[in-house]
Subunit: 419 residues, 2 copies
Amino acid sequence: MKAEILTIGDEILIGQVTNTNAVWIAQQLNLIGIKVVHMATVSDDANEILKGLENAAKSADMVLITGGLGPTKDDITKKTFAQFFNAELVLDEAILVDVSSFFIKRGREVSQLNKDQALIPKGCRVLRNKSGTAPGMWMQKNNVHFISLPGVPYEMKGIMTDEVLPAIKAEFKLPHIYHKTVLTQGIGESVIAELIEKWEDGLAAKNIKLAYLPQPGLVRLRLSTSGDDEKKIKEDVDDEIEKLIPLIQDYVFGFENYGEEMPTIEKVTSDLLKERKQTLSIAESCTGGYLSSLFTAIAGSSEVFKGGIVPYSNEAKHELLNVDNAIFEKYGAVSKECVIDLAENVRKKFNSDFSISISGVAGPSGGTPDKPVGFVWIAVSSKEKTLAKSFQFGDHRQRNIVMTANAAVSFLRKFVLKN
Amino acid sequence: MKAEILTIGDEILIGQVTNTNAVWIAQQLNLIGIKVVHMATVSDDANEILKGLENAAKSADMVLITGGLGPTKDDITKKTFAQFFNAELVLDEAILVDVSSFFIKRGREVSQLNKDQALIPKGCRVLRNKSGTAPGMWMQKNNVHFISLPGVPYEMKGIMTDEVLPAIKAEFKLPHIYHKTVLTQGIGESVIAELIEKWEDGLAAKNIKLAYLPQPGLVRLRLSTSGDDEKKIKEDVDDEIEKLIPLIQDYVFGFENYGEEMPTIEKVTSDLLKERKQTLSIAESCTGGYLSSLFTAIAGSSEVFKGGIVPYSNEAKHELLNVDNAIFEKYGAVSKECVIDLAENVRKKFNSDFSISISGVAGPSGGTPDKPVGFVWIAVSSKEKTLAKSFQFGDHRQRNIVMTANAAVSFLRKFVLKN
């Protein structure tokens, strides 16, 4: 079964909003064996929506539509959707109860705009929305399924999870798609390509596709295949990964099983610490709380993460983390001496097994010939020892923050593994 | 002039990567008066790419293509692009020099794969890539312009900024598009819609479109129009905004001028403090560094942000920020008493004019009947006084973190304005 994801919304076309719905829907469809063959985004305009629906039906058996179902005047998807199927809009009483109780629960009045959300095209299969007021709608035309969902991400996700995905799984017989991704840190994609060239040449014969997915500081290698025999396609891919690993051993930090939560390098490292019942604290200057926020974004992180300090000035480094003022004068705050002090003192302060400290020049200002923008010192520390390393990243503040955090976590992970 | 943005990449279709390139390109085109009428994403497959190019040419005068230009075998855009124009691939010596120096500068060898990046379709206008090795390519067919760029975001952005946008501006006569967005916090979209209904009804006559853009905790209202008379369309929109403001005064925190950096609520607040030469410190528990990272993501934030502490455990709250242990026993860490102590003590510790403190239950675990997941206390403090408020957000950890941070910044902003 082939699907198209059709996004409706001027906010996407003018670049005001990133289309995160499409990526999430694609993941969910893939996971149950539906191949997304095309994505398109059209304007909040009846003709464009109709053209989009017609085009989608040419190559897809199922069209997932998001956007334009809100209560306000700029939302015209429902009217146009009904027009596409030549269906009139009728009041659905169950939905009216849903919509009303949504507002009553929150102590608010139900306006006519809100009540109108219970209007649906006649003959449509209604998909209940537990997190909002716009119901989803499922219609069929010439054997193509059209499923229209709200554009608000958590409402769309709720309806997909509660209604659409279980129905598709129950009602269609689907093939299997299998992806597995090898996660690497600290090596560029063309270097990997050379290291694995021979291995890569053998993949076509097994109907396995390889993709290189570079991110700041990381490269992901995704192997993909599909077929009817779930066990065999999985074995084929896993066999190839077993041959691949020895070629790039030093750089691999984990795997991404498609559909499971993507193991970020901080998740892998946090799990490693949790397993060993060890804890972490962080003193981060130029990353300004970003590194701590990566660890605390993980559910249950309080078992591993004891706390952090963002000593954004020299005074704070001195007063909160006892960095000797002589260090600032002699070496500067972006120095090996400073990050070693920060790492050791933050570890003691939070009484954690490990710590990370960071001091660098995120940019755009603050660079010097000696320590240009992008120059960073990172230290990791345990009760037994403290190591420090310097890195030179690029010119972009936000990118420098992300790459610094990635490098710091990778540094810690290798340090923990050796301890 | 109408444009299509065509994205090439299986990683998008299987939902492994979010298409952030399309949103950025759309913004840039819009800004110079090019309307993006359609976006599409196709697979890394020669037939699909060819079909995508043909389809795009039907409705657009200019097609911006990203993806598939890397050095590795999964990247087939260049070959297919050449095929579409019936052009052979030839070596471009200037590009070969660029590619070689890219690797030599980094002390790495230049492989054959890298050298092949200097191959380009004969007759193509070459777009130099200063941040990577894959050049961009600009070709024309039946009066439609096709511009192919690498998929790596900062490489694509570099070529657009350095080469493509200046060339378009110089070579084409373009109309004006004007967007302005009103930013609100603390009110839902259907409530706004009722408050501004009459005003909204008058927009059509002026050819102004209104869009409601909800985000966690915020709603943006975008007014858009286009025309040849730059001054007039701007005045029309600005006049309407002047009429709109009094209707929703209490909720408006700023404006987004299209194409300028979007003023997040933390940027607006940080600018306010900078103007008043006042400073901020943060003690955040359940947001775990995220709130600090919002402020430190702003270039030059060290003038405003003095530092932060993430006291993730009760011990840390006690030892680093002197919260009395009796408070944990009597009221718990998620309490008015605790956040007041945190806010006052972090302000003193960093000697800042203002401070924010946060303690809550981000979830998914840790909720109790009294203090369920999503329950948060926030305090703001100055030398004169300290205020605390509680909030009830939802069930999702990441969403709770974002909404808490938004609410905290909004709380601080109003507090600063009254001080």
